[in-house]
Amino acid sequence: MPELINIRDLPTSVSERRVVVVGAGPAAHRFVTALRGRGDRSDVVVLGEESVAPYDRVNLAKHWDPDHDLSLTNVGMWNERTHLVTNAWVNSIDPERKSVHVNGETELAYDELVLATGSAATMPPLPGNDLAGVYVYRTVNDVDRMRANVEALSSARGPEKPPQAVVIGGGLLGLEAAGGLVKYGFETHLVHSRDWLMSSQLDEGGGRTLNRAIEQRGIELHLGQRPSAVLPAAADPSTVGGVAVGEDLIEADLVVWAIGITPRDELARDAGLETAPNGGVPIDTACRTATPGIWAIGEVASFDGTCVGLVAPANAMAEVVAAQLTGGDDEFTEIDDATKLKLHGLDVASFGDSLSRKSGTLDVVMSDPVEGVYQKLVLSDDARTLLGGVFVGDAEPYASLRALLGRQLPGAPKAYLSGGGDVPDAEMPDDLVACSCNNVTVHEIKQAVGQGCHDLASVKKCSKAGTQCGSCVGLVGKIMTKEMEGAGLEISKRLCEHFELSRPELFEAIRLSRLTSFTQVIEKIGTGRGCDICKPVVANILATAFHEHVLDGGRDGLQDTNDRALANMQKDGTYSVVPRIPGGEITPEKLAVIAQVAKEFNLYTKITGAQRIDLLGARLEQLPQIWQRLIDAGMESGQAYGKSLRAVKSCVGSAWCRYGVQDSVGMAVHLENRYRGLRSPHKLKIGVSGCARECAEARGKDVGVIATDKGWNVYVGGNGGFTPRHAELLVSDVDDRMLVKVIDRFFMYYIRSAERLQRTAPWVESLEGGMDHLREVILEDSLGICDELESAMGDLVADYRDEWAETLNDPVKLARFTPFINDPQATDETIVQVPERGQVRPATAGERVMISVPTIGIGA
C-alpha cells in the first residue's frame, strides 16, 4: 500500500489535535490553507480518492490541453503536520469512536472531521449508459479518458469524416465539455431539456443570445428535449453509436453527460448522519453538521436545503470551519451564486435574482442581436435597488455591479450597461464585497492600500482579492486607484522601509559621496539593515557607479539569487544558462558546443525570443562546469539573469538581404559588445533592423535602431511584455558614431534617473516634458551633462569583465556552488524532471505527488 505510507508516518508527529478531511478537492485545499493561515498546528490528514493533489476544478475545461497544470499551488503546504493521502477511499465513518476507515485496512482516529466529499456527476439510469464511449464531465481523469478516446477516434476516422459527439446538458459544464470537443474536431451536438442554454442562470433573453452565439461556434443545439436512450454502434455493440432524442437519432462516437451534480453524501448516510431531502449533509451557519465533531463544506454541504456547485460558497464554508476550529465565530449566512465565465471566448455572467423571480421587479434591458450582446439589470419596484443581473457577450459591467447587489445604484441604471453613458463616480461603501471568491470587502482593499500596497500585485497578495477567478481584478484596481488618489498618494517613491530616497536620489547620493559598500550606504543614508528590495538596488547602483564585479566586496548577500548564481532560477530551484550570442550571430562550432553541453547535462533547450539559446534545468553545482565548457569555446555570460542589457536582436541586413540598406548584424554585434554587462534599473533590450521593413522588431525594444539610406533612425522607450509599447522616434538619420553617442547618453541618463524596476517606456513618460525633454537633454545637451554621461559609459565599457570567468577564477565564489554546506557530495533529490517532447521539464505538483517525491520528508 505505497499510497498509505504517509498514514503510517503519522504517529511520529506530535500534536494535540488531529483534523481529518474527507475529500481532496478545492474546498479541502482552501480549508487547509485557511487553517494554517490562522497559525493552527493540528495534525491535518486530507484523504482524497483521486490520484492527484487538489486541483482547480473550476477550470477543468483547460485540461483539454493536457499540459495545462490545474494543481492548486503551494506543494509546500504538505509537510509532516499536513498529510495528503491520495488514492484513499474512505469506507466508513464511526462517529462514536471518532474514526474513519480507509482502504479497507486502516482506522484513523480524528478529533475533528471535515466532510468535503463534493459531488458526483449525475447520470440517469438510461439504457445504454454502460456502453464504451459514454462519459461524465467532472474530474481530470474524465477529461484524460475522453481526450484519449477522442485522439483514437480522430486518427481512426481520418479527415474526411469527422467524429461526432453528443453532449447532454446545456449548463455550464455541458458547454465547457462541448467546447473541448469542438476544439478536437468533433461535430458536436448539445441536448438540453429547456429552451435556452444555462437556463438556471440566464433569463430567456440572455439564454437565447447565448443560443445564437453557441450555434455560431458550430455546435448544433437540440433544445427542449431529453434523450430517451443511448444506443450501441452497429459495428461494435459494446460501444456507443448514437443517442435517441425525441423523434431523432443523433449518431455519436462519444456521449458526455453533464446534466448536473449529486452531492456525495453516501458516507454520511451510512454513518447515520442526517442528510437533506434533496441530498447533501445539512449544516448550520457554523458549517457544523448535527453530529458533534463533524463539519461539512463545499458541494456536499446542504445549507437551507440547497447544495451548490460553485467555488465561492465552498471557499466561504472552508474559511468558516477554519475559523470555528481556531476559536473564531465566523458564520456562513448566504449562498453567493454569482457566476462569470468565458465560454468559447464569450463572456457570460449572472448574479442575484437574475431570473426576476421576486414579484414587482423591474428589468432594465440592453439587447443588441447584431453584436450578440444582452445585458439586464433587475431592480426593485422603485427602480433603485439592484437585485440581480445577466450579461451575455459583454460582461464588463459585471464586476462593479455584482458588488452593488442589494444596494441602491448611485446613478441611472442604464448608465451601468454597455454604451449607456458615464457611471457616476460615487464612493463605494466599505462593507461591499468586491471579491466574492475570497470574501474581500472594499474596506479590506482600502486597508491593504493603507498598509503600503500601492500596486495591483501587492494589493492582490495582501488582501487576497482577485486571486481566484480573477473577475473582480478590474474593480480592485479601481478601488486601489481611487483610494490612493483620495489619500493624495502620488505613489510614494520611497524605496523601502530602509531608504526614504527614491532610486535616482540614491544613485546620486552614492555616486557623489563615493559610498562603495552596502554597509556604508545604509549607515550614511538609510536605517536598519536592509531587505530584499533595497539590497539588490544598491548592488546594482554600485555596479554601475563603480563598475565592479557584482559578487565582489561582500556583495553576494545583496544580490537576488539570479545575480548571485549568475543564472536564472526556475520554479523547481534549477537554473537556466544563457550564453551571449551577440546580434544572434553564431558559428556552427559554437552551436555544436552548446548542443554537446545540453546533451551532456541533460538540459532542456529552447530558442529565446531574443535570438539566443536557453539551457534549462541545470543544478546549482553544475553551473561552474557548464560555464567552463562554454568559456573554453569562446563564449561568455549573456547576463540573462541581471537587470542589465540582455540581447541585441537583428535581421540579416544588407550583407545578405536584397532589401537591406545597412549592415544591421554588424551594428547589433557592435552594440551588444559595447553594452554587455551594463547594470540598469530594469532589463534593457535593443533591436537593429537593416531597412524600414523592420524584421528585427526593433520598435518593441528599449532602443530600436532602424536603417535608412542615410544612416540610422533611433527609437526609444519600446517594450513587449505585459504592457506592449512601440518605441518613439528620438532622432533620424544619424551616422554610426552619433548613433553610439545617442545610445550612451540615453542609457546613462535612464540608469541615473529611473525608479526601481521602471522600464524605459514608463520612465520616458514620467519625465516632465516627455520625449521633448529627452531630445533637449540628449541632442541639445540642455542640462550640460552629455560629456559626463558619455564618459561614464566609456569607463563601464572599458572595465567590462565576464562574470562567469571571474567566478571560475575565484575559489571562494566557486565554493558557494554546492547545494549542501555539510555534505558537498549530496545532490538535491527533490528536483524531479519528467520527459516531454524528447526533452525534460520539471514535474508538476500533481506529478510529484504521484511519483511520491519526498516532499513530505524535507521539512515543513
Binding site: G39, G857, A860
Partner: protein
C-alpha cells in the same frame, strides 16, 4: 488492521535532538546556506549581528528547496529571509510570512558548541 491513534502529547523541547552541521566560521554573514540533516533540507543564516537562524529550506510557495538562496534582510528590526522565487518574506525568528498570511516555514533552534553550529530538530 492498522489502528492509528494520536500519540500522547509531549512537549517539543523534550524531543529536540541537537544535530551538528558545520563549523561556525564557514557560514558567511547575510549569505544563507542549505544543509542536509536527517534527510531534510535545512537552511542556515547568519545575520548582520552574527546571530544564527535555521529554517526549512523549502519555499512553501513552490515546494522548491531554495530558501537559503534568498536575500537575508531585516524588517522592523526582525531578521528576515526573502524567497528567491516568488519573493515571500519570512520572519526568521518565528517562520511567519510577512507578505502572505497563508504561508509559513518551520524554524529550528540553533546553538554553537565548540565552534560547531548545531540545529535542534524535533524529528
Amino acid at each position: 488492521m492498522t489502528v492509528l491513534t494520536r500519540k500522547t502529547h509531549s512537549t517539543a523541547v523534550e524531543t529536540l535532538t541537537w544535530t551538528p552541521v558545520v563549523e561556525e566560521h564557514r557560514l558567511e554573514r547575510d549569505v544563507g546556506a542549505a544543509a542536509l540533516l536527517k534527510g531534510r533540507h535545512i537552511a542556515l543564516y547568519r545575520t548582520w549581528n552574527d546571530r544564527l537562524y535555521a529554517s526549512s529550506n523549502v519555499d512553501p510557495d513552490t515546494g522548491a528547496s531554495v530558501l537559503s538562496r534568498g536575500i537575508v534582510g531585516e524588517s522592523g528590526g526582525v531578521p528576515t529571509i526573502a524567497s528567491p522565487l516568488l519573493k515571500a518574506v519570512f520572519n526568521l525568528e518565528t517562520g511567519e510570512c510577512l507578505t502572505n498570511d497563508e504561508l509559513s516555514v518551520e524554524t529550528y533552534p540553533v546553538r554553537v558548541v565548540d565552534g560547531i553550529i548545531q540545529v535542534g530538530l524535533d524529528f
